[in-house]
């Protein structure tokens, strides 16, 4: 079953086409990685999927339903969860409360119904020891974990991760990758934008390469990374 489908989706800012006729399908349960140089339109693609940016043309289908004109809120309730490139925790709420807020408002359930699930998510994202600390006191790794946990708290069927491994040390990065693998192993579909390629390759089954808003390569990660076009454009290597 296809969980997300983009068909000829385009978005321009003035004369600049940041998303140019992008089409791809994501089957349920897949982990798809998105790479591309800075300014290739990766984050805009996420904004189009979540609905924070309206598409100029094309259709976006979520679980068989056309969501192109739906609001971010409606898509969130349908099961689109997202972590941000720059962590934006509610600093004066505790870590647990951050999850409670996301879980109650993201699913429309009461706090009583979601509190147990929030505790489980904290355990899985290794934040349980920090549950009662103010989120503003977390380290960068902690904040990234919280981004992940908060996105999970909305009970997503499709999880969008935006450069979640950026800025972490090697050890921290591996710890986070293990957590993401575990979440993926439970059947959550993941789309992950990342510059840290080895982190990405440890999780994703398929890779999509964006350049100037266009899809220039898609498929098995090893094959995609080996292609001449990708190596030239993305890695800047003369082949």
């Amino acid at each position: 079953m296809t969980i997300l489908s983009l068909k000829d989706v385009s978005k321009s800012y003035g004369a600049l086409r940041v998303t140019d006729g992008v089409s791809f399908d994501v089957p349920q349960g897949q982990a798809l990685g998105i790479i591309g140089p800075n300014g290739a339109g990766k984050s805009t693609l996420f904004n189009l999927i979540t609905g924070n940016v309206p598409a100029d043309a094309g259709t976006i289908t979520l679980m068989g339903r056309d969501v192109t004109r739906l609001t971010p809120m409606q898509r969130c309730l349908m099961g689109v969860g997202r972590s941000f490139q720059i962590p934006q925790p509610f600093g004066n709420l505790t870590v647990f409360e951050n999850l409670l807020v996301a879980a109650t408002h993201g699913t429309g359930a009461s706090e009583r119904e979601v509190s147990r699930r929030c505790a489980v998510i904290l355990e899985r994202t290794e934040l349980i020891d920090r549950a009662n600390q103010p989120a503003g006191s977390l380290s960068l790794l902690g904040r990234k974990r919280l981004e992940l946990a908060r996105a999970m708290a909305t009970d997503p069927k499709l999880l969008l991760l935006d450069e979640i491994a950026g800025g972490l040390t090697e050890g921290e990065c591996q710890a986070l990758v293990a957590t993401i693998r575990a979440i993926h192993a439970e059947g959550v579909t993941i789309i992950w934008i990342e510059h840290v390629l080895h982190a990405l390759n440890a999780v994703v089954e398929r890779l999509l390469v964006l350049d100037f808003g266009q899809v220039i390569g898609m498929g098995d990660p090893a094959t995609v990374m080996a292609s001449k076009e990708v190596r030239e454009i993305y890695l800047g290597i003369e082949v």
């Binding site: 924070n52 971010p72 809120m73 969130c76 309730l77 997202r82 941000f84 934006q88 509610f90 600093g91 004066n92 709420l93 409360e97 951050n98 409670l100 807020v101 996301a102 109650t104 408002h105 993201g106 429309g108 009461s110 706090e111 103010p134 989120a135 503003g136 006191s137 908060r150 909305t154």
Partner: protein
């Protein structure tokens, strides 16, 4: 001069200032809105209680209970219809709008009730006192202080123990991210202002029973409320109580030395606290 008596009277006076300030602190803490009409809204609520007392012949406390839902609705509407439109990155529009609102309320009250000073009669309660040996404390100031503590405990319970409170705090931290989580800031703000108006009604009850009021005294109450909020640290409710107590004690001590120094001593205490702790006594941990 009885120092203990003076200080205790000041502490109890601080309860009244904390009641003035709690609503202001709540609104500022959640939506970073400085409501210049806060003092006038207290006076408006005092007139509302007065009207209910004289029209229905109710006890002032019962009248305040009747006034609360009316004031909640007024606050909710005010936020939804007026204030939500001017909230944004620029702090000037809300200042101008609430300043205008202050003038409108004052003149509407002047039109409706004339400039005569009024009082909410509380009967024997006004003069009742309890003898504690070296000091004698009025029942009314003690009730005021107890109400201030109850209000602050209640608001803290609401803030830290309920889903609504968490939505308030999340929105206060970051309205944009909160809206991505499915919180609607416009409606959160309307609820918050409604609740602030309930606190305003309680403040108005004690103001009206303890002193004369007329349509123009709102801004003077606003000054004390502001100072209490700022001394306490913006957005901290217990800090607001501490701020009110500091101003109250400074005023009674000042007055004990020389009656002309009462108001001045309060303002000087405010400046001294700011010199030592520019962010107030209990600032928010993360901004």
């Amino acid at each position: 001069m009885n120092w203990i008596d003076t200080i205790l009277q000041g502490v109890l006076l601080g309860g009244l200032y904390a009641l003035f300030a709690a609503g202001l602190s709540l609104v500022f803490g959640i939506m970073r809105l400085v409501n210049l009409a806060h003092g006038d809204l207290i006076i408006l609520a005092a007139y509302l209680i007065l009207v209910i007392v004289s029209a229905l012949g109710l006890n002032p406390f019962l009248a305040a209970l009747v006034a609360m839902p009316v004031m909640f609705a007024l606050g909710w509407l005010l936020q939804r219809v007026v204030l939500n439109r001017v909230l944004g990155n620029d702090i000037l529009p809300p200042l101008l709008v609430t300043f205008g609102l202050s003038i409108v309320i004052q003149n509407a009250l002047l039109q409706g009730f004339s400039a005569d000073s009024q009082r909410i009669g509380a009967g024997a309660l006004e003069t009742a006192s309890v003898d504690f040996g070296p000091v004698t404390l009025g029942v009314m100031p003690m009730l005021t202080f107890a109400s201030a503590i109850l209000v602050i405990v209640g608001l803290n319970q609401l803030f830290y123990r309920t889903a609504m409170g968490r939505a308030f705090r999340a929105t206060s931290d970051d309205p944009v991210t909160a809206s991505l989580m499915g919180i609607k800031p416009a409606s959160v703000f309307a609820q918050a202002t409604g609740i602030a108006m309930i606190v305003v009604t309680i403040a108005a009850l004690y103001l009206g029973m303890r002193a004369n009021f007329d349509p123009t005294i709102g801004p003077a109450r606003l000054i004390y409320a502001f100072e209490a909020v700022i001394i306490g640290g913006l957005g901290s409710l217990w800090g607001t109580l501490a701020g009110g107590v500091i101003i109250g004690v400074a005023q009674t001590l000042g007055a004990a030395v020389n009656p002309e120094w009462q108001i001045l001593a309060g303002h000087v205490a405010f400046l001294l606290v700011l010199l030592v702790r520019p962010r107030g006594l209990f600032p928010r941990a993360y901004d």
